[in-house]
């Protein structure tokens, strides 16, 4: 089942990349990043079936970092929304010349 898991993981990661590239809503882009993290977690778990439980330890670390990242990222999105009244990335172009 290792090959199938890795293929599914690759497909989910690619779907997450497509989500990041095609959407303009900051929250949906953020959720696509979470999907990519999940895809990597699936590879870790698939390898841990073969090479011991260390992969599962890394999955727990990834989940912790993802939780921290979600909290900070969503706080940033709320702060941007207060200023701009939108989360559409087309309108958040302060750094564009």
């Amino acid at each position: 089942m290792l090959a199938e898991s890795l293929a599914l993981s690759a497909a989910l990661f690619a779907i997450g990349v497509v989500g990041v590239l095609t959407r303009k809503n900051a929250i949906i882009i953020f959720m696509s990043v979470e999907l990519m993290l999940n895809a990597v977690n699936l590879s870790f778990v698939a390898f841990s079936k073969l090479y011991g439980a260390t992969g599962q330890v890394f999955v727990i670390f990834v989940m912790t970092v993802a939780a921290a990242e979600a909290a900070v990222g969503l706080a940033i999105i709320i702060a941007i929304f207060r200023h701009k009244k939108t989360v559409n990335l087309e309108n958040i172009n302060l750094l564009r010349g």
């Binding site: 089942m1 690759a10 990349v17 989500g19 011991g52 260390t54 989940m63 993802a66 706080a75």
Partner: protein
């Protein structure tokens, strides 16, 4: 399981949850409404939790349901509804036609690349001897995860508490109203 072929019951559920995860992920990136997208992502995460259980990682499966589907996605839904993002002017958020073509091409290229890598170099470069199932089974489901977590990776485990404190303080400071 060992080296023998997995049973039909096992294979059926593996492919079932794999297809559910794949289909709900595709539906997730194509939904216009952020709330619908979030709900489909929850479906993906539940299917992944089932796959973790099938891959003998029951503890990680439970954590997936509790932390990802239960906590992180609830925070996402909370923010979507707090910012009231369901109204029509926010819904048209797809990029233009060419950007979507480029994204689909990039995604397919990435998928092909990862698949090709997993086919070839994996067997050559990751030639670590597989751990026999008896060695991983010591201490039960949670003990096999807790062992390395509190021995080899104790420093990293303690550092995540610093990370979480920093994230909490950062989130409070960033989301606070000025003045």
């Amino acid at each position: 399981m060992g080296n023998e072929l997995p049973s039909l019951f096992y294979s059926f559920h593996f492919y079932l949850f794999g297809l559910v995860a794949l289909a709900s992920a595709i539906v997730f990136v194509t939904r216009k409404s952020p709330v619908a997208a979030a709900m489909w992502l929850v479906v993906t995460m539940f299917a992944l939790a089932a796959l973790y259980v099938l891959l003998d990682a029951q503890f990680v499966g439970v954590m997936q349901v509790l932390v990802y589907a239960g906590a992180i996605m609830v925070v996402f839904l909370f923010v979507i509804m707090l910012l009231n993002l369901g109204h029509p002017s926010e819904l048209a958020d797809m990029r233009g036609k060419w950007a979507r073509f480029a994204a689909a091409f990039l995604g397919l290229a990435l998928l092909a690349e990862i698949l090709a890598l997993s086919r070839t170099t994996l067997d050559l470069r990751l030639r670590v001897s597989p751990v026999p199932p008896s060695a991983t089974a010591t201490g039960g489901i949670i003990g096999s995860v807790a062992g390395p977590l509190f021995r080899e990776y104790l420093l990293a485990f303690e550092l995540t508490s610093v990370l979480l404190i920093a994230a909490i303080v950062g989130a409070v400071v960033l989301a606070r109203k000025k003045g």
